[in-house]
């Protein structure tokens, strides 16, 4: 076991652990803070991969993750929460405990799925992919089990963190930078959308549950 591998493993697991941290939090502010830390860990992972793969363009991905996702986005989300007077607690559709258990099951699932099918890839890649897929599934889980739009958005971004983690871990993957930019645009749009459309004003709450009641026949 060499140091390159171990450090990548450590950072990847840190991102995953922070994914659980996101599910564990009960207050919006704490969720946003956890997300910022996760994004910073992702930046570290990208930078580390850039170093060990000797592919300098990944430093750009790392920089985007650090500046945009770990700083600007959390700041903007906090500002939105204050500005729009959004509820300060996370409303869950499923309790924290069961969510965590499902989360662990998802991690196990992704390991069971990924490891047998990647026998030809390098150890670093395989493991990174298993961790990344877990992060993706945890993000998805968060989107499903949280009611506030803000925590759903955070869930989406966590999902995206998993994708970037997967992309940087695959050696020589082209277009990683472009993809992270594309995602950043998407995220910016979402934030912009929340503010611009004043979803709170229009729906009385950011809770998507209220949106449901307008669905269907008119």
């Amino acid at each position: 076991m060499n140091f390159h591998y171990s450090a990548a493993h450590l950072i990847g697991a840190l991102v995953l652990l922070l994914g659980f941290q996101l599910l564990y939090q009960r207050r919006i502010a704490a969720v946003i803070r956890s997300f910022a830390v996760q994004a910073a860990a992702l930046a570290l992972a990208a930078a580390w991969q850039a170093y060990i793969q000797d592919s300098p363009h990944l430093y750009i991905t790392a920089a985007i993750a650090l500046v945009f996702k770990a700083m600007i986005v959390p700041f903007a989300l906090n500002w939105l929460v204050v500005r729009l007077g959004i509820h300060k607690t996370v409303e869950t559709a499923l309790g924290i405990g069961p969510t965590m258990m499902i989360g662990v099951a998802l991690v196990a699932l992704s390991i069971v799925l990924v490891l047998p099918v990647t026998q030809n890839a390098s150890a670093l890649t395989r493991e990174n992919l298993a961790l990344a897929m877990s992060v993706v599934l945890l993000g998805l889980l968060m989107m499903i089990t949280r009611r506030n739009a803000v925590s759903q958005v955070v869930g989406f971004m966590a999902l995206e963190n998993g994708l970037i983690l997967a992309a940087v871990g695959v050696k020589g993957m082209p277009l990683v930078v472009e993809m992270s930019i594309a995602f950043s645009v998407l995220v910016a749009m979402i934030l912009f959308g929340i503010f611009f459309y004043r979803i709170r004003e229009r729906f009385d709450s950011l809770d998507l549950h209220y949106l449901e009641s307008f669905r269907g026949e008119r």
């Binding site: 799925l113 099918v117 949106l211 669905r215 008119r218």
Partner: protein, 479 residues
């Protein structure tokens, strides 16, 4: 300048220019002009075959979709001239909204064409993501509570969808890497297809599941269709037309490209049963849902889900006949569904409502509009001798020939949907009229409708020899 450069450059340039033009008359004329140039350039592709690069390519499969996209883009921009003039006059939209609308329209066309022409799987993905962004902005154009709700739902669901698709792409790249080494070749579709036999099959199977969920969401396949009816119903009608006519096709196109890679590999999971399952689910679900629709745009949105189901089913069956039928159905559905949305746009404008119960006797009050609408709906319902009947007939007969027991749910779905559409249609088209004959509409607005209906009608009886040959080549390509 190559035709491809022109095809992609025109809408991109137009989008940038249109974002700065405040006069909506000028901008809708420019919009039309840009679409015309794009369509003209796309016709050149028939004559000049550009060499494939690692980034863009033209083959038998995407060439006809490019032409179809450019064509529907053109007719829709023609339709939108009259449509938005009326929306502006009635005060639903302001000049600022329209500036935005035109820029986004061209931006949307650009992303669609880029997704079709991209050889690089990553570029294709970015283009489809861009398409989501532009259409979200257009769906929310009216800024009503409902349209924002629809746009939000569309945005969130499709963002997750394409995020999962990206994961699938990463997995495909990973599968390709041992055989092809790192670098852009391992993401270029033409190269990947050539080397697909040496990929890790299990990894590709896993990747396809992600891609199916991802692009399947975008293509509106059940059970991932939740965004589709809302997005269609709440946006401006020209957008509903391009969503149904183009976006769904492109999402399906992306999925089929990956299916081809899997088929070329041979040892990976057979995508057929998955596609058949999702196709049938969409068909049956949407077929039954059609009965309970009260909103005319929602009705046809569900009909789009149904047809995407049929197409997916056909490609899932595979084989020369079914693939041929799928391609034909894709084309016919694009034309017929956008024609219907053109008609629906006019109808809802003159009726002032989208409620099916409040619209009656169209053939009496507005014979021209009413009858062409009737023909278009009859086409989409699958009445002979129109184009869609032909493709549906081919799907059913090839299913009977190969897997007879699958034909039963397919037929049930087709008949259920047929019954629902005819039931709603008789109410809309016949009986005492509910709309005053004094309600006028822009004369230009009917031209694209006629064009599409005529094409669908002709295709039912006669397909030109080159087109036929082409479809056969692509059908073989699809395996």
């Amino acid at each position: 300048m190559t035709p491809v450069g022109l095809i992609l450059g025109t809408p991109l340039l137009a989008a940038l220019v249109l974002a700065w033009i405040t006069d909506y008359r000028l901008s809708s004329a420019l919009n039309l002009l840009a679409s015309l140039i794009t369509f003209g350039a796309s016709l050149f592709l028939f004559g000049v075959r550009i060499p494939d690069s690692l980034w863009l390519f033209v083959d038998d499969f995407n060439i006809y979709l490019v032409v179809l996209t450019a064509f529907v883009g053109l007719t829709t921009s023609l339709f939108s001239v009259g449509y938005i003039a009326r929306e502006k006059a009635e005060g639903h939209l302001t000049a600022r909204h329209l500036r935005f609308y035109h820029a986004m329209y061209q931006g949307f066309l650009f992303t669609m064409l880029l997704a079709l022409l991209a050889n690089n799987l990553g570029v294709m993905w970015v283009a489809i993501e861009g398409a989501t962004l532009t259409t979200v902005l257009m769906v929310s154009l009216y800024r009503t509570r409902e349209s924002i709700e629809a746009a939000w739902k569309y945005f969130i669901l499709c963002s997750v969808g394409i995020a999962l698709a990206l994961f699938g792409i990463i997995l495909i790249y990973l599968a390709a890497q041992p055989a092809m080494g790192p670098g852009p070749e391992a993401m270029a579709w033409t190269e990947v297809l050539r080397a697909a036999g040496r990929f890790e099959p299990a990894l590709m199977s896993l990747a396809f599941v992600f891609l199916l969920v991802g692009y399947g969401t975008k293509a509106g396949l059940a059970p991932l269709h939740a965004w589709l009816p809302d997005a269609h119903a709440e946006g401006p009608t020209p957008i509903s037309a391009v969503l149904s006519g183009l976006l769904l096709n492109v999402a399906l196109y992306a999925l089929l490209r990956f299916k081809m890679i899997l088929t070329a590999n041979g040892a990976a999971l057979d995508p057929g049963p998955l596609l058949i399952g999702m196709g049938l689910t969409s068909l049956l679900l949407a077929g039954f849902m059609l009965y309970r629709r009260n909103d005319i745009k929602r009705l046809f949105a569900y009909s789009s889900i149904e047809h995407m189901g049929i197409i997916t089913f056909a490609f899932g069956m595979g084989g020369a006949v079914a693939n041929f039928a799928g391609l034909l159905h894709m084309t016919m559905h694009s034309l017929a569904k956008s024609a219907i949305f053109f008609a629906v746009g006019i109808i809802s404008q003159i009726a002032g409502t989208k409620k099916i119960a409040d619209i009656r006797g169209l053939t009496v009050s507005h014979p021209l509009l009413g009858w062409s609408f009737l023909v278009a709906v009859a086409a989409i319902a699958g009445l002979p001798p129109l184009g869609i009947f032909m493709s549906e007939f081919l799907v059913v007969s090839s299913t009977f020939a190969r897997q007879p027991w699958l034909a039963v749910p397919l037929l049930i779905g087709l008949l259920v949907a047929f019954g629902a559409l005819i039931l709603k249609l008789t109410g809309l088209a016949f009986g005492p009229p509910s709309i005053g004959a004094s309600q006028r509409y822009h004369p230009l607005a009917l031209a694209p409708l006629f064009g599409h209906v005529a094409l669908v009608a002709v295709a039912g009886i006669w397909l030109p020899e080159p087109l036929l040959r082409w479809f056969q080549i692509v059908a073989r390509l699809l395996g």
